[in-house]
């Protein structure tokens, strides 16, 4: 463009010229690359957030890892994979516990649990994650065992050594005198008690409770067993399940008849032991029933292809089992395998279909075909839910790798009501973590988004009128001399760290408001009439007196008026409380109006955040109003319009896009503000528009939870999603505001 041509600089030496040209080119490239790098780095934020949240919405994937046959004389009764995914346990009907390598099927360890001649006639697990299982034997006894794994390090290499232990003794417990085979079995192993429920060929239900106690001297376990039997249980029992507290026994008989028996009542007397009786499906045959992780929900699959979720509901002290959800699964779903760390499960169909589903989100994340063409004989999912092992009736084993990291997060789980476990109805809940492992994480953005908008709404309610009125007055009516003083004050207000506003709101304003509630109400009610009254009185004063005050100084005159009135309201607050609110306004609100009151509430947040937002709106709106060309206003005034008419009819229409964009930017700031809401609310994620209650906002939620979230977990990614939502919202709002402002600028330019 403007490169100096060498023609009139010929006397300088050419080396110097070359150096200059090189410098110029170098600067051009350095600046261009540096500038683009900075802009790229800024865009990186967007891309990185997107990169972190993408996995949330990726569908699950499975991949066949291995396929091999194993040799065994017996059919399998149970498969289980160890934590690392290196070994799996195969229990067979002959009572052999074989530990195989997942990759090759090679046997690492073999152990026979039974004497010769005894066979496994039924099987039950306490729960998948406890690794405790029970074998119902053909001689009428039950053996309870647990598979354990321990890594052993030799030098740099690690080997996993499997072993079996016996939580209630390494011998079969005899349940029936008749030594008839155990047909159906349920067990539950707990900290200090284990319960066995076994049904023999004679349709007698035997219950055994084994209490465990550790001798604190010898550290040996001592067991005391108590048994009783129930006779009228019917002859078509197919499944038995014990609740986690070992109190209730679920008996599924016939097609879909579920009976719930209170074992405590059953032990003392048989009256009223049956506390519930349900028909789980209408006309269809139940194919499988088992507990979801945590032992709260029952999953039922039936021959019509439906999988349903049930759990206890309390109605007026009565507990009943309620169907809460139905999963869209393929016809012929016949077997359910539950995950051990999440509320997810696998549904296997009798045509070889495989589906991954999750209880909380209520959706299936994968439909696949195992290629087996029929129902696998046994199946297991790894504790980390990354491996699935299936065995068919020809001893062929298929190993699948599962990639399903975030099944609990779906759009509907984030934004819609979800019927969480132990809740009486579908609700919006944010509760991301708890102390126990089998907790159902509740990732509903709705209460957080609601809290964010609530905080923003109340702060805008205060800030918008104050800031816009202030901007109007400052730009249009105020004397230039004060205007020059007011602007830095507002700039200072904008620069105040929000942590200070939050701290004042939480520690000073919140208790102050609580103590002076009547003052708050009375200020709101009295302030406007008082100002008008003062203005009226002022207008009636003799002109000589009024002329003492130059134009555009009204605001200054009002400062003492407002300050005095405010002080008076606060001083009279306690008397008003006595007079109107029976001495305690807070109690009056709660008792007489039924409005609950938190000390750190939306009112406090509204005031504090309003304070933070006022300068933002004020300065942009003031700029917009001040930029209205003077010849417009002068023309209007010259034509006889009053200043107020000029403002309403000429200035405001011209400046309104600017004012609108000011409000948008203010809203953006209110939505993203973190420290004020963090400190001035109780941070409880509730959905209630009540001004006297708190909230939790997206931003505060991120600040509270991100440091504790495990990297790359669903929780972590959901928080990134929250950040992304905030980013997009503010970016969108600000862009609109910016475009409006640019249009406005162009229009003024033409005027």
């Amino acid at each position: 463009m403007n490169k100096p041509s060498g023609s009139f600089l010929q006397e300088s030496d050419s080396f110097f010229q070359a150096k200059r040209r090189f410098k110029d080119r170098f600067a051009r490239h350095a600046i261009a690359s540096g500038g683009l790098a900075v802009i790229g780095a800024i865009l990186l934020i967007f891309l990185y957030l997107l990169y972190e949240i993408m996995p949330l919405f990726q569908s699950a994937d499975i991949e066949e890892q291995a396929e091999y046959s194993i040799s065994s004389d017996h059919d399998p009764v149970h498969l289980a994979i160890e934590e690392q995914g290196e070994l799996f346990l195969r229990l067979d009907a002959g009572g052999n516990a074989n530990f195989h390598e997942v990759d090759s099927g090679g046997v690492r360890k073999q152990q026979s649990l039974l004497e010769s001649g005894v066979r496994v006639s039924s099987f039950a697990v306490s729960s998948e994650e406890s690794r405790v299982f029970g074998l119902g034997l053909s001689n009428g006894s039950v053996l309870v065992a647990k598979h354990d794994y321990e890594p052993v390090y030799t030098g740099e290499s690690r080997e996993i050594v499997p072993s079996l232990s016996f939580p209630i003794g390494d011998f079969p417990r005899i349940l029936t005198d008749s030594s008839s085979a155990i047909r159906v079995l349920a067990i539950r192993d707990g900290e200090d008690q284990a319960t066995i429920a076994a049904l023999d060929e004679a349709h007698t239900l035997h219950i055994m409770q084994v209490e465990k106690e550790q001798n604190f001297l010898s550290e040996e376990w001592e067991f005391t067993e108590k048994s009783f039997a129930l006779n009228d249980i019917g002859d078509s029992v197919r499944y038995l399940l014990l609740s986690e507290d070992q109190r209730y026994l679920f008996v599924l008989s016939g097609q879909a008849e579920l009976k719930v028996i209170d074992l405590r009542a059953a032990r003392s007397s048989e009256i009223d032991a049956v506390v519930g009786q349900y028909t789980l499906t209408a006309g269809a045959m139940v194919n499988d029933i088992r507990f979801l992780l945590g032992g709260i929900s029952l999953l039922v699959s039936d021959s019509s292809g439906a999988v349903t979720q049930w759990f206890w509901q309390s109605f007026d002290g009565l507990r009943r089992l309620e169907k809460v959800r139905e999963f869209a699964t393929k016809p012929g779903s016949a077997r359910i395998v539950t995950e051990q760390r999440r509320k997810g499960f696998v549904v296997l169909g009798d045509t070889g279909s495989l589906q991954l589903a999750h209880a909380t989100s209520g959706s299936t994340s994968l439909d696949a075909d195992t290629g087996l063409k029929r129902l696998p004989v046994a199946a297991a999912i790894a504790p980390r839910a990354n491996l699935l092992i299936l065995e068919d009736d020809t001893r062929k084993i298929k190993v699948w790798q599962i990639d399903n990291p975030h099944p609990e997060v779906t759009f509907s789980a984030l934004w819609q009501q979800v019927w969480y476990e132990s809740y009486s109805e579908p609700e919006y809940v944010w509760q991301s973590s708890a102390s126990n492992n089998d907790f159902e994480p509740k990732y509903s953005f709705s209460p957080l988004a609601f809290g964010t908008l609530k905080a923003a709404f109340y702060s805008m309610l205060l800030a918008a009128p104050l800031a816009i009125c202030g901007a109007i007055y400052t730009a249009f009516f105020m004397a230039p001399a004060i205007r020059r003083k007011i602007k830095p004050l507002v700039e200072l207000m904008e620069a105040l760290p929000t942590v200070i506003l939050g701290f004042l709101a939480g520690l000073w304003l919140a208790p102050f408001v609580e103590k002076h509630l009547p003052a708050m109400f009375s200020m709101l009610l009295l302030m406007p009439p008082a100002i008008l009254l003062f203005a009226f009185v002022w207008s009636r004063l003799p002109a000589r007196l009024r002329n003492l005050l130059p134009d555009g100084w009204q605001a200054l005159l009002l400062i003492p008026v407002i300050a005095l009135l405010g002080a008076a309201c606060i001083a009279a607050s306690q008397s008003m409380e006595l007079l109107f609110f029976e001495g305690d306004a807070r109690a009056w609100l709660t008792n007489d109006l039924g409005v609950s009151y938190d000390q750190r509430n939306a009112l406090v947040v509204g005031v504090a955040m309003g304070f933070a937002v006022i300068p933002t709106i004020f300065s942009i709106a003031e700029d917009a109003i001040f930029a209205v060309p003077k010849h417009l206003t002068n023309g209007s005034l010259a034509l006889g319009a009053t200043p107020w008419q000029t403002l309403l009819r000429v200035v405001m229409p011209t400046a309104s896009p600017g004012i609108f964009s000011a409000m948008m930017i203010g809203l953006g700031r209110a939505v993203g503000e973190t420290m004020i809401v963090l400190m001035a609310t109780g941070n409880t994620p509730i959905m209630d528009a009540n001004i006297f209650e708190g909230m939790r906002t997206l931003a505060a939620n991120i600040a509270v939870e991100v440091p504790e979230a495990e990297v790359d977990s669903s929780h972590y990614r959901v928080l990134f999603l929250a950040a992304f939502v905030l980013f997009m919202f503010t970016f969108f709002v600000n862009t609109i505001a910016e475009l409006i402002r640019q249009r406005l600028r162009e229009r003024y330019g033409s005027l």
Partner: protein, 579 residues
């Protein structure tokens, strides 16, 4: 505005009916004016609250002593303490709290919040007392306030001073004896000096030794991890390390002996104090930070004490879970972080602005980028914090650890929040501010200046370097100062990327490499949040939070006014060129 004023005065001079008055719109002007007035009251009020509550804490208030008739038990006790607050409470509320009060005396009763201190004796250090039940209010001369390393303040009388358990001076609590007090002060001065020496040794020499030991451990681990080295060389290096470790251990031994000796010296003296209700307490001088007799001080002396207390607040380390002591590490951390941030943000922000304004083709893309950059200034800061945590700490930081700090693993070096990541995050947060301000400065430079330079034969780079950048430098300064002001007040992202409530050491010290970018640090803003909301004794900590908040406001106000005045100065300077 002239026309407006004339119009206004025209309306003023006429007497109007109420309806006409409303019709003129005059009342609404007053209403809009009231918004400005309310905002001004709010800002000034807020600053006043911070000022008064923050600074009054350091004022050595008189200590009050009175007999108090307990409302519940009816017993009379002697109370000593400082009045920190008082309020009017309605009779009803007091009664519902279970107090038996007579009807006469009005609907409202005054009660005072007394800081009684002596938390180790009474268990709590603040209590409300009804004013009407106070009897015999007095301000005895001999009442002293002791600031202690543990248990907060002590209020009471001096009884005697002991050296190795032997009494060397004594007085009656009721009668103040200046000589005893002189002995007390001399011993206290000696203990404080010794304590300072001990602290200096622990802070510098012991820490340096620990640091060297840690480096040795890492070197050893590095050797273990190294595969290519043959056994002989490895053993040789190991022997070297072992020798150095032995040297350090020997030095440590010497230091330990010195410290033990100093501790013995400082533990030599003790004194006995008595509380208002007569309980005697034997205290070692080593536990005392400061002692005062506020009831004997005149206004000038009090002002002096006030200044020294503020000085100590600014220069000392925090004590007792941050609820007592100073905020020096927080000031230091804030300043250091902000400096690092400005070093990063200034060149990049300026380069980006120069590129956008001087080199990039002005078109749709540039305009879009400009809007995007502008809008990034409005993106919530917590989003930047999340980005910093995910990208810098867990992403880049863990990679750095894998590549360069393997010996320290699994303890993370850069794969954990720290100073470097905090300043980088804030640099990204504030870079839009610098870009916008610099661009504004560049756009203010008249075309004629550029064209003149080019016409004289300068290349574009020379024009930029010699003419444009110097002229735009005040704008850059403004941008950087605004960025610094924003960074100094920002807390939310820092909570995720490096700030802690209590850092064991300053990130800048005498140990190589002197500046520890991987360390966590303290920050004034976070200090406010932490002490105000997470501390166990909020009531005691509150004045300090106000003081810290006031300090932060002062810092930020100064920075902002500097930015404003530089901006104004710049506008004045180039006004002449604008035509």
């Amino acid at each position: 505005m002239n026309t407006v004023e004339e119009k206004n005065s025209l309306y003023k001079s006429r007497k109007q009916s109420v309806g006409a008055w409303f019709g003129s719109g005059e009342p609404w002007i007053w209403v809009t004016g009231s918004a400005v007035a309310a905002s001004v009251i709010a800002v000034v009020g807020l600053l006043l609250i911070l000022l008064v509550r923050g600074l009054s804490h350091f004022w050595p208030a008189d200590i009050i002593e009175f007999e108090y008739l307990d409302e519940r038990s009816g017993q009379q006790t002697t109370v000593v303490g400082e009045i920190t607050d008082s309020e009017q409470v309605s009779l009803e509320q007091l009664r519902s709290a279970g107090l038996q009060l007579p009807e006469e005396g009005g609907e409202f009763r005054q009660r005072d919040l007394i800081k009684t201190g002596n938390r180790d004796v009474t268990g709590s250090d603040f209590r409300w007392y009804l004013s009407e039940n106070m009897r015999n209010i007095r301000f005895p001369k001999g009442l002293m306030v002791l600031e202690r390393y543990e248990w907060g303040n002590f209020y009471g009388y001096l009884l005697n001073v002991k050296e190795q358990g032997r009494e060397i001076a004594a007085q009656q609590p009721a009668e103040f004896d200046p000589e005893t007090w002189q002995v007390f002060e001399a011993r206290l001065k000696r203990a404080i000096e010794l304590n300072d020496t001990i602290k200096a040794i622990e802070k510098h020499e012991t820490r340096a030794l620990n640091y060297r030991l840690e480096r040795l451990r890492l070197a050893e681990r590095e050797l273990e991890l190294e595969i290519g080295l043959d056994a002989l060389a490895k053993n040789l290096a190991m022997a070297e390390i072992a020798q150095e470790r032995a040297e350090i251990d020997a030095e440590y031994e010497v230091l330990q002996t010195r410290l033990t000796d100093l501790h013995q010296q400082v533990d030599r003296d003790s004194f006995t104090a008595v509380t208002a209700d007569g309980r005697q307490l034997s205290l070692p001088f080593a536990k005392i930070v400061d002692a005062l007799l506020p009831n004997q001080l005149n206004a000038v002396e009090k002002t002096w004490v006030w200044f020294t207390k503020i000085g100590r607040f600014l220069s000392e380390d925090p004590r007792e879970a941050n609820t007592e002591g100073g905020v020096f590490p927080a000031i230091f951390g804030t300043v250091l972080m902000v400096i690092l941030m400005s070093i990063m943000v200034t060149p990049f922000g300026v380069v980006a602005a120069v590129y956008l304004r001087e080199y990039a083709r002005q078109g749709f893309v540039t305009r879009t980028i400009r809007i995007a950059v502008n809008n990034l200034a409005g993106v919530p800061s917590i989003v930047y914090g999340v980005f910093g945590l995910g990208f810098f700490v867990y992403g880049v930081g863990e990679q750095i650890d894998q590549l360069f700090f393997q010996a320290a693993l699994p303890a993370p070096t850069f794969g954990t929040p720290g100073l470097l990541w905090a300043s980088l995050t804030l640099a990204i947060l504030t870079v839009p501010v610098v870009i916008v301000a610099t661009e504004e400065g560049l756009s203010r430079i008249p075309r004629a200046v550029r064209e003149g330079s080019l016409a004289l034969g300068a290349t574009k780079a020379e024009t930029l370097w010699r003419v444009i950048l110097p002229m735009a430098s005040p704008a850059m300064m403004t941008g950087v100062i605004l960025a610094v002001a924003r960074a100094a007040g920002e807390v939310a992202p820092l909570m995720l990327v490096g700030v802690v409530k209590l850092a064991p050491a300053l990130p800048l010290d005498g140990n190589f490499p002197y500046l520890h970018l991987d360390q966590k640090f303290m920050h004034l803003g976070f200090h406010i949040y932490d002490v105000g909301f997470q501390s166990p004794n909020v009531e005691a900590a509150r004045p300090l939070v106000y003081a810290t908040a006031f300090l932060l406001v002062v810092v930020i106000a100064v920075l902002n006014f500097a930015a404003v005045s530089i901006r104004n100065h710049l506008r004045e300077k180039y006004k002449a060129l604008e035509h």
